[in-house]
């Protein structure tokens, strides 16, 4: 175990400093954070213009200002459209809104301005109309009027409480997001693993290293190191995603209602970690068989396509999340993590299916490490040369 750990640590330390890893690892969350922060930043930069309005219904209460978050929207009432337009021309207001006579039937207000109103200004105009419609209501009543049904859904069978809105999105979106993260990790990790093994052969350090430890120790250490590296990468991505989501939600009032789906997170770890190990092991095996980096990348790409295969039948999975196809793919080790997590977003997946899925992944993982170590022994000194099927079979037999 000590030597496995040594190889894992060396692999991890070498790779974590590489430029490709740093760009891929920090570039993606940075983009997510920027994307999440855009609305926040846009609002932060906004100043609210003074707005005029023309009440053609004659039924609205006159309002001079309304609070919008930490700012105030100033309003000026005009008797008609011409006066409002003149107000703009004279610089009294920068825009005006006309509330038509048929506002209480089917007509909608029209906003006249140089540019489209910002989200914050729209919020201010909505607050103004609420206040103008119900001048006697207090602030809490108006707030309640804005969100009269913040439903909390309680599952009759389990008693799980799930809040509406963002809470529901988090509840059902998290397993799907984890499934996608798994696929993304497998795709990038498998490619990195395959090329790492070829690189190891290319650098010709293998012959010295292999006289110090067993092939299975070297292979296991390599896979462990690369897996830890991928987990670091995913961890950074998830932190980035959490910050991005946090920023995106910061202007809303729903966040207290968000419920973390711990069960999905637990199964994501139980399925995802050995599932990733399995892909990394198979990618290492393909890297060993491959003659060069290009071939290794192609083979790893093929493996990634196997991992992606449930995406092609996502329609059937959504339609029948407990159907035979869905159950079969949950039990098949190479598709189990993605399919199980995707199903969790749609239905309650029986625990026995998840447990068997995890068990089969572990069984195939052990068999893969055993086989890859033996193929590795036969191929480790064949620089720039691919292993043919007969040589692979002979390597497995000579175990």
């Amino acid at each position: 175990m000590n030597k496995i750990w040594l190889v894992a640590r060396m692999t991890y330390r070498r790779r974590i400093r590489s430029g490709t890893f740093l760009i891929l690892t920090f570039g993606l969350p940075l983009l997510m954070v920027i994307a999440g922060a855009i609305p926040f930043l846009r609002n932060a930069g906004d100043s609210l213009p003074s707005v005029g309005y023309v009440d053609q219904t004659g039924q609205l209460a006159p309002i001079e200002q309304v609070p919008v978050e930490d700012r105030t929207l100033h309003l000026t009432a005009y008797p008609d459209v011409d006066a409002a337009r003149k107000g703009v021309e004279q610089g009294q207001v920068t825009a005006y809104m006309v509330i038509p006579e048929g506002y209480f039937s089917e007509d909608v207000p029209v906003f006249y301005a140089e540019e489209e109103p910002s989200a914050m200004l729209e919020e201010g105009l909505t607050a103004f109309l609420r206040r103008a419609l119900l001048p006697k209501a207090d602030d809490s009543q108006l707030e309640r009027l804005a969100n009269p049904t913040d439903l909390t859904y309680v599952a009759l069978a389990s008693g799980d409480r799930v809040a509406e809105g963002v809470g529901l999105v988090v509840r059902f979106g998290t397993p799907s997001a984890l499934a996608i993260v798994f696929l993304l990790t497998v795709f990038t990790g498998a490619g990195q693993m395959g090329t790492a093994v070829v690189l190891e052969k290319d650098q010709r350090a293998m012959e010295m290293v292999i006289t110090s430890l067993a092939p299975v120790e070297l292979v296991s250490g390599k896979i462990l190191g690369m897996t830890l590296l991928s987990l670091t990468q995913v961890g950074i991505w998830l932190v980035g995603a959490a910050i991005a989501v946090g920023l995106a939600l910061s202007g809303l009032t729903y966040e207290q209602a968000v419920v973390i789906p711990w069960s999905a997170l637990l199964w994501a770890v139980l399925l995802g970690v050995p599932g990733y190990f399995l892909y990394a092991t198979l990618a290492a095996g393909l890297g060993i068989i491959a003659g060069d980096r290009q071939q290794a990348r192609q083979m790893a790409g093929g493996l990634g396509l196997v991992g992606m295969s449930p995406v092609y039948v996502i329609g059937q999975l959504v339609e029948a999340p407990n159907g035979p196809l869905a159950v079969g793919l949950t039990l098949f080790p190479l598709t189990a993590p993605y399919v199980a997590l995707t199903r969790m977003a749609l239905t309650d997946v029986p625990i026995w299916q998840l447990a068997i899925g995890v068990g089969l992944i572990i069984v195939l993982l052990i068999a893969s490490i055993w086989s890859v170590a033996r193929i590795f022994r036969a191929a480790m000194l064949m620089v720039g040369q691919a292993l043919n099927p007969r040589e692979i079979l002979r390597a497995l037999r000579e175990a």
């Binding site: 040594l6 006289t211 110090s212």
Partner: protein, 321 residues
């Protein structure tokens, strides 16, 4: 000394290896003792690397037995073996010191001891100042020395080195040579595979010459050279020589003569004849020694021709004259 109490660090009995139709090694047997340097020689493709890899358990022989440090190879024994392969390679993106710490720990040293040894050996090969350089920044000679240290810093009982001096200047060659002598004197058994025959003559007590995967010469270097000693004399003298009794062939060479004796002619009798010759003064009279390179070339050439290696060379007059 090995755990069995013998001084045999390595005992090979009849190992063979076949790759498809190619017989890479065939029925090869030899031993290496603690405290000796065995020269492993052979032309390119003779089976040296395959033999080394079988010893190190990198590849499995089809037949025969390898007894290493008193028995079959185990994972524990790998920590008592040092190896410098012919194909050089280190992790280029690692620093020299990190490389040595990794390799030392793989060989069972604690991190602390590995660091101490790395410092001692790097100072010895004059690379301590380069410890924080990445391997990719090293010159060929520096790289070679780092690999040597990586393969031997755990002070193994059996060392296998393939072309240890290639790419080294005379000063660095001397550094590595002295380290090898010190390891031998400490009791390590060393197998040195090289094509530098003068290094073998200088450093090895015994040699094993293989060709086409088979043993063609094996034994003490002095005895082998004695076996291949030509019945020839080299003399420096003032005067002219024409014909001499008991001499088959007389070849002038830059002021000296090389004399190939007839069967039964004693060098002492020839010396007496020369001394008694009028107008001739003998300044040097020496039996011609056969260099290892000559032996190598002739044995391998004949092996390729008719498979009769191991016998004294009798066509010397054709090749050496």
């Amino acid at each position: 000394m090995t755990p069995t109490g013998t001084n045999k660090a390595l005992e090979i009995q009849g190992i063979s290896k076949r790759y498809g139709d190619l017989q890479a090694v065939k029925d090869l047997s030899f031993t290496v003792n603690a405290g000796e340097i065995l020269g492993l020689l052979g032309p390119n493709g003779a089976g040296k690397t395959t033999t080394i890899r079988m010893i190190l358990d990198i590849i499995k022989p089809n037949g025969g037995q390898v007894s290493i440090l008193g028995g079959p190879m185990t994972e524990e024994k790998k920590s008592r073996i040092g190896y410098l392969p012919e194909e050089r390679g280190l992790y280029e993106d690692m620093t020299v010191l990190d490389t040595l710490l990794f390799m030392g720990q793989l060989k069972g040293l604690s991190r602390q001891i590995a660091r101490e040894r790395a410092e001692v050996y790097l100072r010895e090969v004059e690379l301590w100042d380069a410890r924080d350089l990445k391997v990719e920044a090293l010159s060929q000679g520096m790289n070679q020395k780092v690999q040597f240290v990586a393969g031997t810093m755990h002070e193994p009982d059996l060392i296998i080195i393939d072309e240890p001096f290639s790419g080294l200047d005379p000063i660095n060659t001397r550094l590595i040579k002295n380290l090898l002598y010190r390891m031998r004197d400490r009791g390590a058994a060393i197998i040195m595979s090289t094509h530098q025959m003068h290094r073998v003559e200088e450093m090895c007590g015994r040699i094993l010459l293989i060709d086409h995967g088979q043993q063609v010469l094996y034994g003490r270097l002095g005895e082998i050279r004695e076996r291949f000693m030509h019945n020839a004399i080299e003399v420096d003298l003032d005067g002219e020589l024409d014909q001499l009794p008991g001499v088959k062939k007389l070849t002038p060479r830059n002021g000296s003569y090389r004399l190939l004796l007839e069967e039964g002619t004693q060098p002492e009798a020839l010396l007496k004849t020369l001394v008694n010759m009028p107008r001739v003064t003998v300044q040097r009279f020496e039996r011609v020694k056969t260099s290892l390179e000559e032996i190598f070339v002739q044995v391998v050439a004949r092996e390729n021709r008719d498979g009769s290696a191991g016998k004294p060379v009798d066509e010397w007059e054709e090749t050496a004259a």
